[in-house]
Amino acid sequence: MARTIVVTSGKGGVGKTTTAASLAMGLALKGHRTVVIDFDVGLRNLDLLMGCERRVVYDFVNVINNEAKINQALIRDKRCEDLSILPASQTRDKDALTEDGVGRVLDELAQDFDFIVCDSPAGIERGATLAMYFADDAVVVTNPEISSVRDSDRMLGILSSKSRRAENGEEPISEHLLLTRYAPERVKIGDMLSVDDVQEILSLNLLGVIPESKSVLNASNSGTPIIMDEDSDAGKAYMDIVSRYLGDELPHRFIEIEKKGLFGRLFGG
């Protein structure tokens, strides 16, 4: 029986798709059969970040409308055989998604996969609410900046009341905070909210902190999830996050300003 994870935020542009791509790839690299689904109908991006945009034949909406079988729509990742992608439709709009349709597709996927990662669109409308409706876990992606924090807070309220678990009175969705685009130097001078500042408002279990990194742009340009770039700090942070999600206790890195000692500066690091 699969575990369904929704990557959501409320605010747009904070790193949901980047996170969904790396989280799914990380889980698959560890040997778990994983599928990542793009819920952003009409504005699909996941296929770009995964580098499979030229292999899309059928999409999520086709499957919901019984125009294609799930296996025809799923795209196998070329780098990792345990990872599959279900792209969103680009030509339809969000009304094409229905609760029954989505539920049916997720049930079918749950039989073949260990993890289902749902990449939510921004906002709190149909696409976002359906992406989180069936979730067991939620990764709430937040930038250390006040509007993102407020939108994440709003999303937490919705998670606790509009999910299937909430409606059925089951154990609530397990919520995790992921702080992205964190810049310790700016936190130090007081321009940016610190981890503690964000936690004071959101009070969530901290899954991890992803440092601001130029390599993220390169990764999305090349259609490679950043977690595969072992040299980048962001990639390393995502690796930590996958391990932490799976239960390992790891200290949080990249929160403090890195002080390069003499040797560090001489030999690079």
Binding site: E125, R150, D153, G157
Partner: protein, 249 residues
């Protein structure tokens, strides 16, 4: 149960149906003699004629004992002659109920302890009815509504006919309301409205006042108007002479 999509207005709607609360005068009958009933009622009406003019009235049959027969037609005529509009009965037995219904009266719930107001919060227009305030209230009327999770932005909690106790923070964009007092054992960053039904003796207590808006029985103050020096401190807010008084605890 299902996720409701935003309704697309197909045609303009003719109605909007929702529950509302009304306080109604109840005439409890202690006797079946319609003549003496109307005489004594007339006496009351004379004391406050404006109040009774066209007023809706509920007739309580509960004290009459079962099998007591009363001339409904005579009762209705006499009440209407006094300018009062009978709208329903409660506490009647089968025969009395069907008689009442044949005169177009509604059958109202016979719950002496609870008023209809109690049932409201479930239908209250809270966008996400977070804590079904009515459920806990109906079972034990006296204990306050207790909220242990943070109240998130966009959520609304309303403690009906009761105090509200929040054991976590209230986020900006969240709303906590109570007919009684509000006690927040955490930071208040959203809105807090006490004494919503008009009780001016209610107070708001919080461990850290950073509210967007505070109000007691309709008298309110917004964040800008709250003294900066009070931020971050345990405070008590009450009403004195129609203005809000904010004091450190």
């Amino acid at each position: 149960m299902s996720v409701k999509p935003k309704a697309k207005p197909r045609l303009s709607s003719s109605i909007d149906l929702r529950a509302s609360s009304f306080t109604l005068p109840v005439l409890t009958l202690l006797d079946t003699d319609t003549k003496s009933i109307s005489e004594q009622l007339q006496h009351k009406v004379k004391q406050a004629p404006e109040f009774f003019k066209n007023a809706p009235l509920v007739i309580d049959m509960g004290q009459l004992g079962s099998q007591a027969t009363i001339d409904f037609e005579s009762l209705m005529d006499r009440i209407k002659l006094l300018g009062i509009t009978p709208i329903g009965i409660r506490g009647g037995d089968e025969a009395q109920n069907s008689a009442a219904q044949s005169f177009g009266l509604a059958l109202l719930a016979d719950t002496r302890a609870n008023s209809t107001a109690e049932k409201l919060p479930v239908q209250k227009k809270a966008s996400e009815p977070v804590k079904q305030a009515s459920k806990s209230d109906l079972t034990s009327q006296s204990s306050a509504l207790l909220v242990t999770q943070p109240v998130r932005s966009g959520q609304r909690v309303y403690a009906v006919d009761n105090d509200l106790v929040v054991l976590a923070a209230v986020s900006p964009g969240a709303e906590v309301m109570a007919d009684g007092n509000i006690h927040i054992y955490g930071v208040l960053r959203g809105r807090a409205l006490a004494g919503v039904k008009g009780n001016t003796d209610t107070r708001i207590f919080c461990q850290d006042l950073q509210a967007e808006l505070i109000a007691i029985s309709g008298h309110y103050q917004i964040s800008e108007g709250i003294d900066e020096t009070l931020r971050g401190k345990p405070t008590q807010i009450r009403l004195r002479d129609s203005s809000l008084l904010i004091e450190e605890l």
